[in-house]
């Protein structure tokens, strides 16, 4: 049986050094996850047990979650975060791919200038742009709106660069064949080229979603009414405003974390590969 031969092979590989390394790695991993586990643990404890430091709650309860969801503010913030993250992700997938495709597959004068100009924006830190964005938003009446939070992130240079790299790998023959068949360029991009770079699109979508879900600085600046806060901004205002009730703050933090963990659990392989891609392309 192959399983037993594998086991035998493994046994030969077991050396004390490896066992120690493995044990330390597991311990370290547990320590890394501890703040997150502890957050969930506290969110499941009744208020009277907050100072009970056991990781597994003695009397687990969903009371904090029910409390916070009945409060209404959190549902509102959750909804804002979701709308914004999804809309910005859709926009990035569409525009970054379209621009990446055009730069990879079309020949025209000025192409390099456009590419370099877009890439050069990677050098500009967001922190430098927020003040002009704020003044622009104030003038146009975009402050305190979903659009006001979303507009700066509708396209990104990094996404464009990533997609361009991938579209360069799409063989021209497919596109030519579609052209001969009389399809227009937009259809060729959307129906022929896009499905061929699905792994890149999923990586782009995941990272854009995560990035926007956790975004803090610009949503904090561009919104003033609590109704329009995103979850991170809302949690901050909630935790400052309230007399400190840690079990409720941890519940709020857990709510902010759950979607990203779900995305991770569902798409772990893509995420790890995506990080490698992002890192190696740099």
């Amino acid at each position: 049986m192959s399983a037993s031969t594998e086991l035998a092979a493994n046994r030969r590989n077991i050396r004390p050094g490896r066992v120690i390394a493995w044990t330390l790695l597991i311990l370290g991993g547990f320590l890394m996850a501890l703040p997150i586990l502890y957050m969930f643990s506290t969110s499941l404890k009744p208020a009277s047990d907050t100072f009970d430091l056991r990781l597994i709650p003695a009397a687990p309860t969903l009371a904090n979650y029910i409390d916070i969801l009945q409060d209404g503010r959190f549902i509102r913030w959750f909804y804002n975060s979701m709308i914004i993250a999804v809309a910005v992700t859709a926009s990035n997938v569409f525009f970054d791919s379209l621009v990446g495709y055009t730069l990879a597959k079309f020949d025209f004068r000025g192409k390099n200038i456009v590419f370099i100009a877009i890439l050069s924006t990677l050098m500009i830190p967001t922190e430098m742009l927020v003040i002009p964005w704020y003044m622009m938003s104030a003038k146009l009446g975009w402050l305190d709106s979903h659009w006001g939070i979303m507009f700066p992130g509708m396209m990104t240079a990094f996404g464009t660069f990533l997609m361009k790299q991938f579209f360069e790998g799409v063989p021209n023959d497919f596109l030519e064949a579609a052209r001969v068949d009389g399809l227009n360029e937009f259809t060729i991009w959307w129906k022929i080229a896009m499905p061929m770079v699905l792994p890149a699109i999923s990586a782009l979508a995941i990272f854009t979603f995560l990035g926007n879900w956790t975004a803090f600085l610009w949503p904090l600046i561009s919104t003033t009414s609590p109704d329009l806060y995103t979850l991170p901004v809302g949690l901050n205002s909630f935790a400052v405003g309230e007399a400190v009730r840690w079990e409720r703050i941890m519940t709020g933090a857990a709510l902010a974390t759950i979607p990203t963990l779900l995305v991770f659990l569902a798409l772990q392989r893509f995420i790890v590969r995506g990080v490698m891609l992002a890192g190696l392309k740099g």
Binding site: I36, V114, T121, P232, L235, M250, T260, F264
Partner: protein
């Protein structure tokens, strides 16, 4: 198909679009695809960049419009002890955070790379913090840092007979206490990148080294680390940029007195935020963003120079 025709005139006179050469159509399509994005980059990226430079030379008044004051903001910044304190803090974050996080993440990646048993689970455990919301985790860490009996870390310290630590309440420890969550959150990303770098080293190099009788340590020093140099430089730069822009965690870790105690934890981005949006001194804040930009630019150029030199 005329609905998506980039040439609007073609709808009325179908002949015109058809009379265009293939080349011309090609170019028209390209610019039709680029029209909205080019507008976006000009209005949302380039114009604000120049605006930030311009604002830094003005008094940055929102209501009656900014008026030009030359380099006054920069002069004021130069004379401002709070700015220098914050500038120092920002570099402390970088100088502690980058080496510590790189050494830890390399060590973990180096050993994790050889572990087969439950590899995926272990990797996921290290990677989890990278997926969290920094602003929310600031609160979680703040909770962990509380004094006995609330805080887990102090409870642990007292249970093994050590003294309680003030962490975020002390001007000496607060910056360190704020750096740890930042290192913690970024570790997973660095580990994955290091592991990708390790995988990219051809195993024939190692085999040759073993045949030559090199020990583990010598292999690490003479083969692994030199071949990993581009990865390491990339991570040093990325991590430095991350620490120079630190904000979210610090804001929620010190939410009742942001950047406190006594500016001990205040990073540059928080100073910018407060100058611009609490004091509404947009011009002065813009001058601070220009300094941040120049520092980041310098680091990016350094990376380009280092990588060009070594390859």
């Amino acid at each position: 198909m005329s609905v998506t025709d980039p040439n609007g005139a073609a709808e009325g006179r179908p002949g015109l679009w058809n009379r265009l050469g293939i080349r011309t159509k090609h170019v028209l399509w390209a610019w039709a695809f680029l029209a909205i994005p080019v507008l976006f980059y000009v209005v949302i990226r380039f114009y604000p960049t120049f605006d930030a430079f311009w604002l830094s030379l003005t008094d940055g008044n929102i209501r009656r419009g900014p008026s030009f004051i030359g380099l006054e903001n920069y002069a004021r910044m130069y004379a401002d002890p709070v700015f220098w304190k914050v500038f120092g803090n920002t570099f402390l974050y970088l100088l502690i955070g980058t080496p510590v996080s790189l050494v830890i993440s390399f060590t973990i990646a180096y050993y994790l790379d050889r572990v087969r048993f439950m590899h995926g689970l272990i990797r996921a455990l290290y990677f989890l913090p990278y997926l969290t919301t920094a602003a929310a985790m600031g609160w979680v860490w703040r909770f962990l840092y509380q004094p006995v009996p609330i805080g887990m870390i102090n409870s642990f310290l007292t249970s093994i007979g050590l003294e309680q630590q003030p962490f975020l309440r002390s001007t000496d420890q607060a910056l360190m206490a704020a750096t740890i969550p930042a290192i913690w959150a970024g570790l997973g990303f660095q580990i994955i990148i290091f592991m990708a770098g390790l995988r990219a080293i051809p195993s024939s190099f190692y085999e040759a080294a073993r045949i030559d009788g090199l020990g583990e340590w010598a292999i690490l020093r003479k083969i692994t680390l030199p071949l990993l140099k581009p990865t390491t430089i990339f991570l040093v730069v990325l991590s430095s940029i991350g620490f120079l822009r630190i904000f979210d965690q610090v804001q929620s870790l010190t939410a009742n007195d942001p950047g406190g105690p006594l500016n001990a934890t205040k990073p540059l981005v928080m100073l910018i935020y407060q100058t611009a949006f609490s004091s509404f001194r947009m011009g002065y804040a813009s001058a601070q963003t220009v300094i941040l930009f120049l520092v980041l630019l310098l680091i990016s150029l350094l990376q380009l120079w280092l990588l060009r030199d070594k390859k």
